[in-house]
Each structure stands twice: as structure tokens, then as C-alpha cells.
């Protein structure tokens, strides 16, 4: 159906890798000329990356971080969608809840870390709670918006043809709101990664955020940079997976509007 030809493989690779390669070269030039101890050359960082992360550290520090991120994100999804659907469906509930939701959304999630530490301690539970407390708002508010904007004609059609209850939830409400819900999930993913790191910087004995701070304090500068690189790669990987899922869930939506 598309009219435009796909460009050749060479051109596509150039587009994909061109900018990253340029940036690395710029960094290289900068780090070689600079005398600063804090700016290591790329080969040094790559070497530190291999030494630091191809080791038990990957399992002791990186894996728990990712596990907490995924747990918090999943919990926030269940909460956000689970609360967002009834609020979106009921005019009264919405009128009561919306100002409060907007208020909580306006609080920058990192400031909750000290509070949650006091309330929930400094274990895994606290870190997951921090992630949930930040991720839940974009998901919740987007779900409310998506459910509220469901098409009136489609919803009349459901009433007419006896599509009610769970079946209505599944075929009309969740599917109809899915473009908005996915937008909320996408925002929540970046919030989640930030909070994962921050929660570990405050009080922790393991995790990516903890490790980066540890290296920084010990002046292990290339190692610190390698941690930042790993975080970047992690974010990139998760976003690729997310995009792949989104394409499957919303294929109808994009074709429908094209």
C-alpha cells in the first residue's frame, strides 16, 4: 500500500548510525585534547564497561534494578488502568477525583523518595513503591482521558446489541482507550527509569544507581561512565521493546488514521 520505496540497506544504516558515530567521534576528539581526569576516551570507557559489567556485577546490581523497575511498572499499570477505567466511565467519580489527581501528578516524583523511605523503609519494597508512585499518574490520567473520549455511537451500538459487562469492557472500553493508555505507558516508562536510579542513589546497597554513585565517590571515573552507558542502553532497549508491543496493539489505530 505504501508508495514510497524503502531506501537501500546502506543508506538506512547510515541514517541509523550516522549521528551516534559522529557524536562518539566528537567525544573522542574532546577527551583526547582535554587534560581532564573526568573525561576518559571512548576506548577506556569501553574497556571499563567490559571489565565492570561482564562480571557478577551484572547479576548483583543490574538485574535487581531491572526487576524492581519491571515490578513497579507492572504494578503501576494495573493500578493506573484499574482505577482509570471506572473514573473515566463515571461522570461523578471524575468530577470528584480529577482535581486531586492533577495535584498528585504535579508533584515531582523524586521528592517523594525521602517520605516513602520514612514510611516504607529502605528495602526493595520502598524502591518499587517509589517507581509506582511516579509511574501511576501518567497511566491513570491518560486512561481516564481515553475512556472518557470513547465514541458515543460505538457505545450506543454496544447497548443496542447487548454488549455489556466484561465483554463491553474488553471489546469497547479497553480497546477504544488503548491509544491513550499506550501514550500513558510510554511516558511512565521514562519516569520509571529515572525513579529506578534515584531510589537507589538515596539508600541502597545494590543496583545501578547505587553502583554509579559508588564509582563516583571512589573516583573510578571510566567505570562511572560505563554505568551511565549501561543505563542509556537499558533505556534504549526497553523503548525498542515498547515500540514493538505498541505496534502490535495499535496496528488498527495507525492504519485507520492513515
Amino acid at each position: 500500500m505504501t508508495v514510497t520505496e524503502r531506501p537501500g540497506l546502506g543508506l538506512r544504516l547510515l541514517r541509523l548510525l550516522g549521528l551516534p558515530i559522529l557524536l562518539i567521534l566528537a567525544w573522542w576528539a574532546f577527551s583526547v585534547t582535554s587534560e581532564s581526569f573526568y573525561v576518559p576516551t571512548p576506548p577506556r570507557v569501553v574497556q571499563a564497561f567490559a571489565e565492570t559489567w561482564f562480571s557478577p556485577r551484572l547479576i548483583d546490581d543490574a538485574l535487581p534494578s531491572v526487576a524492581r523497575l519491571l515490578a513497579g511498572y507492572a504494578l503501576a499499570t494495573v493500578l493506573g488502568v484499574g482505577l482509570g477505567v471506572p473514573i473515566g466511565l463515571s461522570v461523578r467519580l471524575r468530577a470528584a477525583a480529577e482535581p486531586v489527581l492533577e495535584f498528585f501528578r504535579a508533584i515531582p516524583p523524586p521528592v517523594l523518595v525521602p517520605l516513602i523511605m520514612l514510611l516504607a523503609g529502605i528495602d526493595n519494597g520502598m524502591k518499587i513503591l517509589v517507581i509506582v508512585s511516579g509511574c501511576v499518574w501518567p497511566i491513570l490520567l491518560n486512561t481516564v482521558e481515553g475512556v472518557r473520549a470513547l465514541d458515543q455511537v460505538l457505545s450506543d451500538t454496544c447497548r443496542m446489541y447487548g454488549v455489556r459487562g466484561r465483554s463491553r469492557l474488553r471489546h469497547l472500553v479497553l480497546r477504544g482507550a488503548s491509544p491513550q493508555i499506550m501514550a500513558g505507558l510510554r511516558q511512565a516508562l521514562s519516569v520509571g527509569i529515572i525513579l529506578m536510579v534515584i531510589s537507589e542513589m538515596f539508600a541502597s546497597s545494590s543496583g545501578l544507581g547505587f553502583t554509579i554513585v559508588l564509582f563516583q565517590r571512589g573516583f573510578a571515573i571510566p567505570e562511572m561512565w560505563s554505568g551511565i552507558l549501561l543505563l542509556g542502553l537499558l533505556g534504549f532497549g526497553l523503548s525498542v521493546i515498547f515500540r514493538w508491543m505498541e505496534r502490535r496493539v495499535l496496528s488498527w489505530h495507525w492504519s485507520h488514521r492513515a
Partner: protein, 254 residues
């Protein structure tokens, strides 16, 4: 089969009275068309009859049972056909969903879906998505969904207002053929006087808002209709002139 008695609808939000004191009835198996000027309250009437909107006063009965919510034995084809199909479902899934809710066995569902899609001339696109089809084809899917539901009463709200003249003629004949075969009691709403006379056994003429029945015209044309021949009959022209004059008068005395 369908009795509307003293129906009145005032929209509370705006205080606007859309339907005045409106009464008519349809016998089982009848096809009646409702015409009225644009914005007179046709859709409001339909939504009340369908049980989607609570009337301010008056009663509606379907097969003797008062309507308080959408009745089980009724299907509707909406004015906004594009928005009444689920874009995330294929044509087949769209037609099949109401049948699943009716708890029909799988084999029977497959039969009904295939039959109704064949009846509207869409047997070859069950796996397409609505947005892959033209407007006329989408409206056919909506009609197929209504047919597969096997309703006793079928309501249609200006179903062909947004399709081109050629397709419109074909769809009109499709509705007539299906009605002649199944004998479903049908209320067909339109603002097009020609269409109303061509399709209906009766034409119910509505006044402008707040709408009441101006006249209930019996269409005494031969039952076999043909796009060219029927429309060329002197009697057709006469009826059209009559209904047209009624509607003009209704507009002037507003």
C-alpha cells in the same frame, strides 16, 4: 408491532423541546419511512424508540412490551456508519460480536455471518478491517450486522445520507430486497422525500421541531419497485409533490 403514543422529549441540558406530542404505529412486517426537515428531531425520535434515550412523556411499545432500555429483538443502523463499526475488528468480527453476546453456538454464528455478508454483497471481504472499505461498503457491513442479529424490528437513521447517488440506489434496492424476503418490521428515517416514497409502504411526515406527525401518507404504488420505472410513474410524482408541499407548509408555519 411498534406503538409510539404521545411521545415527547425535552433535552434537559438545553431545555430544548425536540419532539412534541408524537404518535404512530407500525404493524408487523411493515416498512414505513419517516421524513422531516433537517434538525426536526428524527434522530431523537429514533433514539427514544431504540430505548437509548428516556422520553420526557409518552410510551413506546414493541410487540406490546413497554420500552425502558434497548429491546432484545431490535437492531439499529446508525446515521454515522463509520463510527458505528469497531475499527479494531475485522468485518466478520464486527458482524459476529452481537451474536456471541446472544450466546449462539459457533456453527450458527458462522452461518448467520456468511449469509448476511452474502446478502449485502460482501462475501469476499470478511477479513478486511472497516477502514479498508469504502463508505458504501462500511454501511453494508452495518446493515449485515443488523440482519445477522435477526431482529423483529429494524430501525435505520438516514443510513444513506453520506454515500454517492449510485451506491445509494443500490443500497435502497438492497434494503427492499431484504425486507421483502424477511418481512422485518422496519422504520426508515430519511430527509429525502424521493427515497421515502420509493422505499416505504407508508410515509410519516414530521413537522419541524418540536416535531409532531403532520400526515401519515399511504404509498399506493405497485409493490415491485424499480429505480427508473417507479420513479417515472405519475403517481410517484404526485406523492412527491404532496409530501413536499406538506413539509414546506410545516417550515413556513414555524
Amino acid at each position: 408491532m411498534l406503538e409510539v403514543t404521545g411521545l415527547k422529549k425535552v433535552y434537559e441540558s438545553t431545555g430544548r423541546e425536540a419532539v412534541g406530542d408524537l404518535s404512530f404505529q407500525l404493524d408487523a412486517g411493515e416498512l414505513a419511512c419517516v421524513v422531516g426537515p433537517s434538525g426536526c428531531g428524527k434522530t431523537t425520535l429514533l433514539r427514544c424508540v431504540a430505548g437509548l434515550l428516556a422520553p420526557t412523556a409518552g410510551t413506546i411499545r414493541v410487540a406490546g412490551v413497554p420500552v425502558t432500555g434497548p429491546p432484545d429483538n431490535m437492531a439499529v443502523v446508525f446515521q454515522e456508519y463509520g463510527r458505528s463499526l469497531f475499527p479494531w475488528m475485522t468485518v466478520q468480527q464486527n458482524v459476529e460480536l452481537p451474536l456471541k453476546e446472544k450466546k449462539l453456538p459457533k456453527v450458527r454464528r458462522a452461518e448467520l455471518v456468511a449469509e448476511s455478508l452474502a446478502a449485502v454483497g460482501l462475501a469476499d471481504v470478511p477479513r478486511s478491517y472497516p477502514w479498508q472499505l469504502s463508505g458504501g461498503m462500511q454501511q453494508r457491513v452495518a446493515i449485515a450486522r443488523a440482519l445477522a442479529y435477526e431482529p423483529e424490528v429494524l430501525l435505520m437513521d438516514e443510513p444513506f445520507a453520506a454515500v454517492d447517488a449510485q451506491t445509494r440506489g443500490e443500497l435502497e434496492d438492497l434494503v427492499l430486497r431484504i425486507w421483502q424476503r424477511l418481512g422485518t418490521t422496519t422504520l426508515f428515517i430519511t430527509h429525502d422525500i424521493d427515497e421515502a416514497i420509493y422505499l416505504g409502504q407508508r410515509v410519516i411526515v414530521l413537522s419541524s421541531s418540536p416535531t409532531v406527525v403532520l400526515e401519515d401518507v399511504k404509498v399506493d404504488l405497485p409493490p415491485e419497485r424499480d429505480q427508473l420505472a417507479t420513479r417515472a410513474l405519475p403517481r410517484f410524482t404526485e406523492l412527491r409533490g404532496h409530501v413536499y408541499a406538506q413539509i414546506q407548509r410545516a417550515k413556513d408555519t414555524r
